[in-house]
């Protein structure tokens, strides 16, 4: 009489299968995290741009008012100031994060041909004065969010 015995067989994943599974999970979760980080970075960049836009608009309006009133700002002295474009405060009003930008402007006088002297420079023969005003904001100085916004406008000076 002969007996045959069936052995218990243990079934499991092989090393390659487990590694493949881990790799797929790692790739999927990694791409999700990367996507979230990229979107958050882009949103923050948009927020910085919004703030910078608001600051530049207000500053351009202020410079325009100074030109209107004949209170000319000096390109060299007044240009290139530091402004805060983003500030994060915690619940205790302690500032934890600050992004600054530099704000510049350039003004040039414009006039018709009849008001120019022989060198092509606007003379004071004509009373009306018009200036072009270009304002620029560059932010932040040392970071990967660096960006620039420019405004260009014309402004007349009120004369009596």
């Amino acid at each position: 009489m002969q007996f045959s015995k069936s052995y218990r067989k243990l079934k499991g994943f092989t090393l390659i299968e487990s590694m493949l599974g881990l790799m797929v999970i790692g790739l999927v979760s990694g791409s999700i995290m990367l996507g979230i980080t990229t979107v958050e970075k882009k949103l923050f960049k948009i927020r910085l741009k919004e703030h910078a836009f608001e600051i530049l608009r207000n500053y351009t309006n202020f410079l325009g008012s100074r030109i209107t009133a004949g209170n000319m700002p000096d390109n060299i002295v007044d240009s290139g100031k530091d402004v805060v474009i983003y500030k994060h405060e915690d619940k205790n009003n302690i500032v934890t994060d600050v992004y600054t930008a530099k704000i510049y402007f350039e003004k040039n006088r414009h006039c018709s041909q009849s008001c120019k002297d022989e060198n092509g420079i606007c003379s004071n023969i004509c009373k009306g004065k018009m200036y072009s005003l270009e304002t620029t904001i560059i932010w932040p100085n040392e970071s990967n969010f660096q960006d620039t916004l420019k405004f260009f406008t014309y402004q007349i000076e009120l004369t009596n």
């Binding site: 015995k5 949103l43 919004e50 309006n61 202020f62 008012s65 209107t68 009133a69 209170n71 009120l158």
Partner: protein
């Protein structure tokens, strides 16, 4: 004669395997769901933030435009009045209705039918709805602040070199408007996600000439 003894073998998961599989899949499900919920909340908060920013910018631009064209700007109780010859505008602040222009909540209405033959067929594009019908608070306008630049500089800015060198008349003719808003996205007004501030600086040549 060969006798094969083969015990009846039913293939199935053991209790430990089943429980482990349930725990692992449950954890994965909770993880995926929480990521989805967080992303969804952030996305919704961002949409609402965009809505708030658009509204505040629109309201501030409207006020700044009225100030630029005005010969006179003065306070009447809590209201701001701008007067340009015979055209008069009043602006008031309300936490429930937003900024009121001439007593009406400020909004931009898009009229599709230019001939206006179908009255009522229009759509409000920019509006202030801080709360949903079920009481969920999206955002709230906290307060506003309107002062001349000279007063603002003395009280708030103090050492702001950005607006320093101008003469007093320019500062007296430039009006600063500030709006403080809170993004809430919840049921409790006191618990907010973030504060958002808006600012406009409007120079009025009319006021300047009056003061000169």
């Amino acid at each position: 004669m060969t006798v094969i003894v083969k015990p009846k073998h039913i293939q199935a998961f053991t209790l430990v395997e089943t429980v482990t599989a349930l725990v692992v899949s449950g954890a994965v499900f909770i993880g995926v769901f929480s990521i989805f919920a967080i992303l969804n909340n952030k996305f919704e908060a961002e949409l609402v933030r965009g809505e708030l920013v658009t509204y505040c910018n629109y309201a501030l631009d409207d006020m700044a435009q009225s100030i630029r064209l005005a010969d006179q700007v003065y306070k009447d109780n809590d209201k701001i009045v701008t007067r340009n010859r015979k055209i008069l505008h009043t602006y008031a602040f309300s936490q429930e209705e937003g900024i009121l222009k001439d007593g009406i909540p400020i909004h931009e209405e898009v009229q599709y039918n230019l001939n206006n033959t179908d009255a009522g067929i229009s759509r409000h594009k920019i509006f202030y709805i801080p709360q949903k019908k079920n009481g969920f608070i999206k955002y709230i306008l906290e307060k506003w602040y309107i002062e001349t630049l000279s007063d603002f500089d003395n009280n708030v800015l103090k050492n702001n070199s950005l607006y320093d060198p101008a003469n007093g008349i320019i500062k007296g003719s430039s009006i600063v408007i500030k709006l403080h808003a809170k993004l809430i996205m919840g049921w409790d007004e006191k618990v907010y996600i973030k504060k958002i501030d808006f600012e406009r600086l409007a120079f009025s040549p009319g006021i300047y000439l009056e003061n000169f």
